[in-house]
């Protein structure tokens, strides 16, 4: 299938609708051949739309902020620790949690494709999968952070984790000041997706979201 095949088509429809037609055709072929049940494809999409998302990671982070034994277990073996929580147990075997400290900020990328902890954070955003982030994160992480409006003290060590294998990384951000006595549920509300990738911070208590 080369791009040249398309030159004979009329150009009334956009490249997008061209793609849409090809995707539909492939789905017909796969279902007609008996490879996949069409309803099962619907169910996959629905599962992604409803079951995974950054709320899973946020609950893990909030628990680590309030429960020192859980935090220790999480940093030692994140798959095992998360597996002990009923609500997010389907995390696979190779999750690694990495802790931000005042001296060190962690940031996660996949320069080769788009590896990302789906079970913890959902499907990755477009920018995570796109060339600007993948190319620059390992060479100019401070410049990338500036694109997110994030700046760190110039002496802070920045550790970039390139996800080149099946290990998946979850950043454990620092707990915001002014949250003493907060419940896990309240804290989870402050945990943003980007703070668990390392391209942002948790929300500040009282700040407009």
């Amino acid at each position: 299938m080369s791009e040249h095949d398309h030159h004979h088509h009329d150009h009334d429809h956009s490249e997008l609708s061209e793609t849409e037609l090809r995707v539909r055709a492939l789905e017909s072929i796969l279902t007609e051949k008996g490879y996949v049940e069409a309803a099962a494809l619907d169910a996959i999409v629905q599962a992604y739309e409803t079951k995974i998302g950054p709320h899973n990671g946020a609950r893990v982070v909030a628990k680590a902020w309030t429960d020192p034994a859980f935090k220790k277990a999480l940093l030692e073996d994140a798959s095992k620790a998360v597996g002990t929580l009923g609500h997010v147990s389907r995390v696979g075997d190779h999750l690694v949690a990495i802790e931000n400290t005042p001296g060190r900020h962690n940031m996660v990328v996949c320069t080769l494709c788009s590896c990302y902890p789906w079970e913890m954070l959902g499907l990755p955003p477009v920018w995570y999968k796109a060339s600007p982030y993948r190319s620059r994160a390992v060479k100019d992480p401070r410049g990338v952070l500036a694109d997110f409006g994030v700046s760190l003290p110039k002496e802070t060590e920045i550790r970039v984790w390139d996800s080149t294998a099946e290990t998946r990384f979850l950043v454990l951000p620092m707990r915001p000041a002014g949250t003493e006595g907060w419940s896990e549920e309240q804290l989870a509300e402050l945990v943003t997706r980007d703070s668990m990738i390392g391209t942002g911070f948790p929300k500040t208590p009282g700040a407009p979201s």
């Binding site: 299938m1 997008l16 793609t19 849409e20 090809r22 995707v23 539909r24 055709a25 492939l26 789905e27 017909s28 072929i29 796969l30 051949k33 490879y35 996949v36 049940e37 099962a40 494809l41 996959i44 999409v45 599962a47 992604y48 739309e49 995974i52 389907r90 075997d93 190779h94 320069t111 080769l112 494709c113 079970e119 499907l123 477009v126 920018w127 796109a130 060339s131 600007p132 993948r134 190319s135 620059r136 994160a137 390992v138 060479k139 100019d140 401070r142 990338v144 694109d147 002496e155 060590e157 920045i158 550790r159 970039v160 984790w161 390139d162 080149t164 294998a165 099946e166 290990t167 998946r168």
Partner: protein
Amino acid sequence: MNGVHDMGGMDGFGKVEPELNEPMFHEEWESRVLAMVRAMGAAGAFNIDASRFYRETLPPQVYLSSSYYKKWFLGLEALLLDKGYISKDDVASGHSVALPKSLKHGKFSMADVERIMVRGKFGRTAPAAAKFKAGDRVRAKNIHPATHTRLPRYVRGHVGVVERDHGCHVFPDTAANDAGEHPQWLYTVVFDGRELWGPDSDPTIKVSIDAFEPYLEAI
């Protein structure tokens, strides 16, 4: 392979542009592509390494100008054609005209959906003792495999330190070519930013990759 997908350290792609309140899918067809890739993989048509390799082997200009799910679609179609699950006549007519090929795990049905929402296991029994341990200084080999590899170009030839040992995992370099899992020890190896990007680069940066043992040599 030294493809455009291996973009760590490249310049010129511009700013990162986060989208506020980004939807999970921008077009409905994107979700169908995701579902087809997951279903056909689970049915045994290919493994995750092969699916990555077929996206990497898209022509560079197509790779760089296609959206994420367009790349997934093009890679999926090429892979299914190559492995004989679909034919050129099927694609040309938009319907199945050729006989189906049997799938290793059979038809993907509703009963399989829950299974694929749990991440696969890639850890394997170690065939040999680990060569390296945390704290060892190692060099990423200067190798340029022509097929799939997970050793990015920007670390090749550079010296780093083993930080973590993740046990033995499926080796993508062979698994992608249907040449077997050949489990290998996997380590997080950390490189100083100046080792990778030169003496004038930001001294506060450290970059790690997860490296399979065959990617590394003792120094």
